[in-house]
């Protein structure tokens, strides 16, 4: 399977081949305005051309701020922000995970939250007038993460 097919068969990547390179995305992108390192039109072009290594091991796909401006305005209805999620998902499957994302993954697996609520903060709730926090469904969550093999993405990152 070519790279472009791998992207369109991934959840979120389905609409990529509708792109006709008009550049509406790039002109709507707040990040492209401040750095030459990211341009959504370029990311899609390179992916369509099969430049797998450049896309998956480069920084560009991680510089999208997920604002969805491009997706709202695309005349071809390419789900650009979702295509970028698909590219990130594939990059991580291949072992390219930025540190901050492995921290999010570990936190989710360990605590069921991506930002941990410290015991100190939890104890303070009553004194400032907040009700106690309900328990987090960590056990159920782990079963889901195991069914989607999310926990394996984590292991792969650890073995690097």
């Amino acid at each position: 399977m070519g790279f472009s097919d791998a992207v369109t068969s991934h959840l979120g990547g389905e609409t990529m081949t509708l792109c006709y390179q008009c550049g509406t995305c790039a002109s709507s992108c707040p990040v492209a305005k401040i750095t030459p390192s990211f341009n959504p039109r370029e990311v899609i072009k390179l992916s369509l051309l099969g430049a797998k290594d450049e896309i998956l091991s480069g920084d560009a796909i991680w510089l999208c701020c997920s604002c969805y401006n491009c997706q709202e305005r695309c005349p071809q209805r390419v789900q650009i922000a979702d295509v970028i999620y698909a590219l990130r998902n594939i990059a991580i499957e291949k072992g390219h995970i930025p540190n901050i994302y492995s921290e999010f993954a570990s936190a989710l697996l360990n605590d069921g939250r991506i930002v941990n609520v410290s015991q100190f903060v939890e104890n303070k709730r009553e004194s400032i007038g907040l009700p106690p926090l309900q328990p987090v469904g960590v056990e159920a969550l782990r079963k889901i993460l195991s069914a989607t093999k999310f926990n394996k993405l984590q292991k792969q990152e650890k073995s690097q």
Partner: protein, 291 residues
Amino acid sequence: MTKYALFLGCTIPARQPNYELSARKSLEKLGVELVDLANMTCCCPPPIQSIDLETSLAVAAYNISIAEEAGLDIVTLCSGCFESLAMANTMLKNDEALKSRVNMILSKAGKNFQGNIKVKHFLQVLTQDVGIKHLKQSVSKPLSSLKVAAFYGCHALRPSELLELDDPERPSILENLIEAIGAKNVEYRNKLKCCGGLLRGFSDDLALDLAREKVANTSKAGADCIATLCPFCFVALDIGQIQIRAKLKESYDMPVLHYSELLALALGVSPKELALETHKIKTDKVLSKML
């Protein structure tokens, strides 16, 4: 009485008691009851969607299924939670194949997504359930001398097709709510542009650059404060100003308040009950204008 399951998420209980207190107190005064359900988890917002979209959809659906079992619609405060839950809710309601795929995963945790409840943002509960008229009548301390710069952030509005909160290019829900509490809405340049929050931790320089523009433009427009809806935008703009001062040597003093905080003040909640010390940029300027 209107009743909702409150989906609290991660960042608000961990870092922003100011958001939680003001939202709970406001809704109580406006006659909306909040129920805290057990066993909810992280909503799986963009940082987890970036790792695995299928996992994010499944976890969002899991959380929705807990509210379904309780027979309650969900209200979220955080726009990240709103985006992931409302997006999953609409996608799964409209796509039987995707719904079966996700329910297969949820069966491992003994859950099932039905698709019979709504996921609403805090703002929608205010406009749709409370209503602007009742909200206006409930204001005891109108913020009449306050000039407020509305900031939507991204994930309350977009992707609009799935979230259906307001027009993504010309929204008005927040401006209307600002005026409903007696404050003046201030227009500023590039209002709908991202705060850069999700780039924090990967590219802090780009994130700060985007936050700087927001603070500079609202200052130039003469706003007394920025009104936010999302804990990530709050961090990007509030703590962001301290980092902008240190790294970019530009000094701003623009208070950032969640809309819920302005609302609670207008409804007569004492500032002392709102954990305003959470703010890095002092809110005194805003409070002094209320006298």
